[in-house]
Amino acid sequence: MTNLNVPDIRGHFGKYGGQFVSETLMAPLRALIDAYERLKGDPAFLAELDQDLKHYVGRPSPLYHAERLTRAWGGAQVWLKREDLNHTGAHKINNTIGQALLAKYLGKTRIIAETGAGQHGVASATIAARLGLKCVVYMGAEDVQRQSPNVYRMKLLGAEVRPVHSGTKTLKDAMNEALRDWVTNVDDTFYVIGTVAGPHPYPMLVRDFQSIIGREVLQQAPAQIGRQPDALIACVGGGSNAIGLFHPYIDLPDVAMYGVEAGGRGLETPEHAAPLSAGRPGVLHGNRTYIMADENGQILPTHSISAGLDYPGVGPEHAWLKDIGRVHYVAATDDEALAAFHEVTRLEGIIPALETAHALAYAKKLAPQLGAGKSMVINLSGRGDKDIFTIARLEGISLT
């Protein structure tokens, strides 16, 4: 029987996770672990978090029965967990609220964040504005181009956006740069990591804050679906929205779970971002997990139509869930995601984020396999307003 109570005291999910950082960061990580252990049982902290999630984020998010998609896909009932309706338009804020509160309780005056699609950057800038914290967001120079509306949003919110020109100029490089900032400013700065990656305790911390998603579904499903769903589906870049939905269901073996990675131009090409499907275990950004690297162990550039999935690693808990066989990890290509984006927009009047569209693309394949009488919940992790310029450009449409 696999012990499902992870991580262990050193942050290990089986052989994955851990703390692979330079010495300077070990003490601040220890302080963060201690603070979190203390605060996660502190009634004042929990009450403040709860209030914020309810009145500021707008939780609980609805569980929506997508009847037209159900008919179109010809199989299982399709239910969407509407994280796109959260304040700032994605699941990311569930985590930034929690971490920013930690920062406040730790007496930090400055937060830093890395961002790919910009959703986590916006969510961080938002909570920084509300709490009166200084906020610096690192973003790959390429992503700054791809996601200019979110860059502007962050600036409106008072954050400083620092484009990162090193390496591949995407999310992984933004994370390197945020770690460099943190090591330089550890005294007054809290690093708000946006996904379930990084060194311990971040994968656990972010999972705990995102698990509100799955906990709500656990409560909503019996009343709305009549029982728990047969399958859960979520997209996986770093994997925070997926772990948030999956984690409360880990010990319910009748619920199948599917994590959908970015298949890019196809797993048979080098142009994808699917380390669980096509990578192998290594060490990146402070944890051991599945990564994409060349024969010398150098991290490979990745490709995805969606900036938020364009990352060569993945949260260590997903690596463990893959190895123990609890979650099925699959991939959807750029083209499949784009088709799903349009279909869901037209049939349900919901514009999904391109990241989310990967989960929808796989759900479309899974629906007829599961069959009528079954039901599945897809994490609609974010809204797609930020992506309309990208999509217009890809389809040769001029918006100006």
Binding site: F20, S22, L25, M26, D173, R180, G297
Partner: protein, 269 residues
């Protein structure tokens, strides 16, 4: 005795400080590295730290990041770096060489295969920046079995219990990071370095080398007054960057720059 132990014992007897230059292997081009290593020894190096380039050097500042990118552009991988050490060893049997870098390139090849090749090539020690002592038990036995010293970092933020844990596992020397920051940062506070070194000495007999923020003869001498060795990296790598297009000048430039530091350190006697 290992080459590192022999070197530090000899320096101690002579009342001298260790001068430890760092360069990134393969920068500006793999064919230059061995010549640069010999030039550093002529300039007065006691130990060489040879950087293994990595695509995501998260503890390094912009100077060494760019060095990694130049080296990787020429395909400098871990095995090639080890080959460079083997080449260096053909004409220098005494200067210790420490490989410094990140865990993933070693992890990817397997620590046992790495340790075996490194030992055969004449590598003396390994400093893995992102391998904290807590995660080290999976790696240290293989490294030690192949006679490789395991050098660990200590930082201004290291509390007493971590200093003790690191002192228990480390061999060769300890590398104290002089400041909170990345390599190549500007500020160096010698008084706070001295006070932390005092704290560390209460827990270890190992020689203490200090790096980060040492850029010239004056800063080398200032740190040399309180440490057993000084590490200079970004200042040399910046020189390599400036002359990357005319690498034939580099051996003499690096030798001369190091010789100034050597001179300043030897004044301390």
């Amino acid at each position: 005795m290992t080459r590192l132990a022999t070197t530090f014992a000899r320096l101690k007897t002579a009342g001298r400080k260790a001068l430890i230059p760092y360069i990134t292997a393969g920068d500006p081009h793999p064919r230059e590295t061995v010549a640069l290593m010999h030039a550093l020894v002529r300039g007065g190096a006691d130990v060489l730290e040879l950087g293994v380039p990595f695509s995501d050097p998260m503890a390094d500042g912009p100077v060494i990041q760019l060095a990694c990118e130049r080296a990787l552009a020429h395909g400098t991988g871990l095995w090639q770096v080890i080959d460079m050490v083997a080449e260096f060893r053909k004409t220098d049997a005494t200067t210790p060489v420490v490989l410094m870098g990140y865990l993933n390139p070693i992890e990817w090849r397997g620590v046992e295969a790495f340790a075996q090749k490194a030992q055969a090539a004449g590598v003396d020690g390994v400093l893995i920046v992102d391998l904290a002592v807590e995660e080290a038990p999976g790696y240290l036995p293989a490294l030690r079995a192949h006679g490789l010293d395991c050098i660990f970092l200590l930082a201004p933020t290291s509390p007493t219990e971590r200093i003790e844990a690191v002192a228990r596992e480390a061999s060769g020397y300890l590398y104290y990071v002089s400041l909170k920051g990345v390599t190549g940062a500007a500020t160096l506070d010698v008084d706070s370095v001295a006070s932390k070194l005092g704290e560390i000495r209460a827990h270890t007999q190992l020689p203490l080398a200090v790096g980060f923020g040492i850029r010239d003869a004056a800063s080398a001498a200032a740190v040399g007054r309180v440490a057993d060795g000084v590490v200079v990296g970004s200042a040399l790598v910046a020189e390599i960057e400036r002359h990357a297009a005319a690498p034939e000048k580099l051996p003499e430039l690096l030798r001369a720059k190091l010789a100034e530091m050597r001179g300043a350190l030897d004044q301390l006697r």
